[in-house]
């Protein structure tokens, strides 16, 4: 964490990919919970699409390694 908040730290493609995967998964989970609680709703559909896209894009960024995002 200290390194992340250092003067010269820059987020890499791999880290961006991981972050997108985490955010995407969270969105997918939230959409699932929302659907289970309230049925199929627009917000859940949008959340699921955005989450799915985030996970997919994140996955494709992982192989790009330490290059700056």
């Amino acid at each position: 964490m200290r390194r992340v908040f250092s003067e010269d730290f820059t987020v890499s493609k791999r880290q961006l990919g991981a972050a997108l995967m985490v955010l995407g998964t969270a969105l997918l989970l939230a959409a699932t919970v929302l659907t289970a609680a309230q049925g199929v709703r627009l917000a859940a559909i949008i959340g699921a699409f955005a989450g799915g896209a985030g996970v997919l894009v994140g996955l494709t960024l992982l192989p790009l390694g330490d290059r700056p995002a």
Partner: protein, 623 residues
């Protein structure tokens, strides 16, 4: 278009000549779009009334600020008015209000100049990053050519000023993290974030650009993003809390809570499809550039801004939203596609040598072709007048709006798309002044759905209709006081254009007023509603309708002149859900001065005889 080639022979090749011809065509078409935009802006700046729904209320906000008053106030007390927009656009216009009083031209001029500054900022971004003035100019002109920018640019609305501040903020902040000199970097960050703050306090929709900026700063250096983000949050949040405190909580209610509206997916989908169709040429290039930065190069603020701005267009599905919600995405698209085009012409892609050379060779023709494709997609123009009548005839273009407006728009129409774009005529101006004369002559305040008539007549502006509607639908507005005022006929007249009021308010108008006159202006019918008879007479009439037995007759006197009573009777019967029985009304009485009509409701039939009685009118109901 100049590709940075070396030999003059290459410049004379058919490929190069084609490129130059297409470049000339792209410039000619986009300059043509600019001239049409200027023509429209001049026409609107000269028009002294509301052109788009709600413009007048932005002027009212400006006037209130010029008098040192907040427009964020209770909607439940006279004059039942509050604003739902942040203050900056109106505050900027305050000096104009001091000098010129209430007028539409300076707000429209500010909006128009804002779009020119935005276009210049887009050009500056492309020129600075890619050092290609030709494409920079095309990118700026492309922004001004958009049907959406054309629509909204010269209106007395704050949206395009927000886009201007957003674009300027992005232009300043995009290079800020790369500045090595600490002092200069801090100044750039502070200046950029100040512009971002200005965008947010011009209109709430700037939140997408705020998100883009802080994501970008975080990717470049999380420490700097957190420090500057905390500072930004303190300033923006402090301002928010101060205004909320100063207005007794009315700021939160009117600016935040009132903007939570119903959502229509079909409206968003229709607008998104339309946006893709009109701007597809540039969107395609921008999307490819975004993918290139994501996987090959480094993400710039321009790309992150574009992604966030496009994502934020999903809010265009809200009730009351529309094509204006795409204008930030259009600015970002023009900037990003301009960067891609200029880079392609310079052959500066970070790609394997063969691919880069092939791209550069193709770019000389493909780039101008993209702008020609775009310019031909966004065609719009007036279809009457000495020049535009001839031009539209020559091009075979007819008005998209039939007899309503003389205006062709390649965008067509979809739910949420503003059906404007025509230049108001002298007849529109004359009819507007006719309505002002009616308001001036009215004995008391007038509740008008648009502010211009009351402002010109130097009377109080009563209500901000859509604001009342939004608050009512969110359970935040009790219309009881306004309804009571309407039922007591405290307003000398009511002027409707679209009837965007809460249902109880509309119902009170229907009950206590009647449509006396309709005046066309700008393709809309402005209905002038006059007070009907007093409440006791209306109640007696309604009771008679409900209680009248077969063979029974009831007579009453209405405190209305004969012609007005005829209009009121027709409206009142419709309001009480009675239908006119077919057949012409009969003339009765000495000299045929009375009018008899029959109405039915289910199996019940009533005849109503209306006769003049001095300055009043006698009504006889028979069943």
């Amino acid at each position: 278009m100049a590709t940075g080639g070396t030999a003059s022979a290459r410049h004379r090749s058919p490929w190069a000549v084609t490129g130059w011809l297409l470049t000339g065509l792209a410039f000619a078409l986009l300059v043509g779009h600019l001239l049409i935009y200027v023509h429209y802006a001049v026409g609107l700046i000269r028009f002294p009334f509301d052109y788009d729904q709600g413009e007048g209320f932005e002027l009212v906000d400006t006037i209130l600020f010029s008098q040192g008053e907040w427009p964020y106030r209770s909607n439940e007390t006279y004059p039942f008015y509050a604003s739902n927009y942040p203050p900056l656009f109106h505050v900027i216009l305050v000096p104009f209000a001091w000098v010129f009083g209430p007028a539409y031209w300076y707000g429209r001029l500010a909006g128009f100049v804002g779009t020119l500054i935005t276009a210049a900022a887009i050009g500056l971004i492309v020129s600075r990053e890619e050092r290609h003035r030709g494409v920079a100019t095309l990118a700026g002109l492309a922004f001004l050519a958009s049907n959406y920018v054309y629509h909204i640019g010269p209106l007395f609305r704050q949206h395009m000023t927000m886009v201007m501040f957003e674009t300027l903020a992005v232009a300043v902040l995009a290079q800020a993290p790369s500045i090595r000199n600490t002092g200069r970097r801090r100044w750039a960050l502070a200046g950029g974030l100040l512009l971002l703050l200005a965008a947010g306090y011009t209109k709430q929709h700037a939140v997408a650009t705020c998100a883009a900026v802080f994501v970008f700063l975080f990717l470049r250096n999380p420490r700097r993003a957190v420090i500057w983000g905390a500072g930004f949050a303190v300033v923006a949040g402090g301002l928010f809390l101060w205004i909320d405190w100063a207005t007794g909580g009315a700021w939160w209610t009117n600016v935040i809570a009132a903007n939570v509206n119903d959502y229509y997916l079909a409206q968003f989908a229709g607008l998104f499809r339309q946006w893709l169709r009109l701007h597809g040429a540039l969107i395609l290039v921008a999307a490819l550039f975004a993918l290139y930065e994501l996987y090959v190069a480094r993400l710039s603020l321009y790309t992150i801004w574009w992604v966030m701005a496009v994502a934020s267009t999903i809010l265009a599905g809200k009730w009351g939203a529309g094509d204006s919600y795409f204008t930030t995405a259009i600015a970002a698209t023009c900037a990003l596609s301009g960067l891609a085009a200029a880079r392609a012409l310079r052959g500066a892609w970070a790609l394997p040598g063969g691919a880069r050379a092939a791209l550069k060779a193709a770019a000389g023709v493909v780039v101008p072709l993209v702008y020609v494709w775009y310019a031909l997609s966004v065609v719009k123009m007036p279809t009457e007048g000495r020049f535009f009548g001839w031009l539209s005839d020559a091009l075979g273009l007819e008005s998209t709006y039939g007899d309503r407006y003389a205006f062709y728009d390649a965008a067509g129409w979809t739910q949420g798309y503003a059906s404007i774009g025509h230049v108001p005529t002298q007849a529109d101006v004359d009819n507007g002044w006719r309505i002002v004369d009616l308001v001036r002559a009215a004995d008391g305040p007038v509740m008008s759905e648009e502010a211009a008539f009351s402002l010109h007549a130097d009377k109080d502006v009563i209500t901000n209709p859509t604001q009342l509607k939004n608050l009512y639908e969110n359970g935040l507005y009790d219309p009881a006081t306004l309804v009571a005022a309407l039922r007591a006929q405290e307003f000398a007249a009511v002027i409707f254009r679209a009837q965007f009021y809460p249902p109880p308010v509309l119902d009170a108008v229907y009950e206590a007023y009647y449509p006396a006159e309709a005046i066309p202006m700008n393709g809309f019918s402005y209905e002038i509603w006059r007070p009907g008879p007093p409440a006791d007479q209306r109640a007696a009439f309604a009771a008679s309708l409900a209680e009248l037995q077969p063979g029974e007759t009831r007579a009453m006197v209405l405190a209305l002149p004969f012609d007005s009573a005829l209009n009121w009777r027709q409206h009142a019967m419709t309001h009480h859900q009675w239908q006119a029985v077919r057949g012409k009304p009969q003339l009765l009485g000495e000299g045929g001065e009375c009018m008899v009509s029959a109405y039915s409701q289910g199996q019940r039939v009533i005849t109503i005889e209306v006769c003049p009685a001095g300055t009043e009118t006698r009504l006889t109901l028979s069943r």
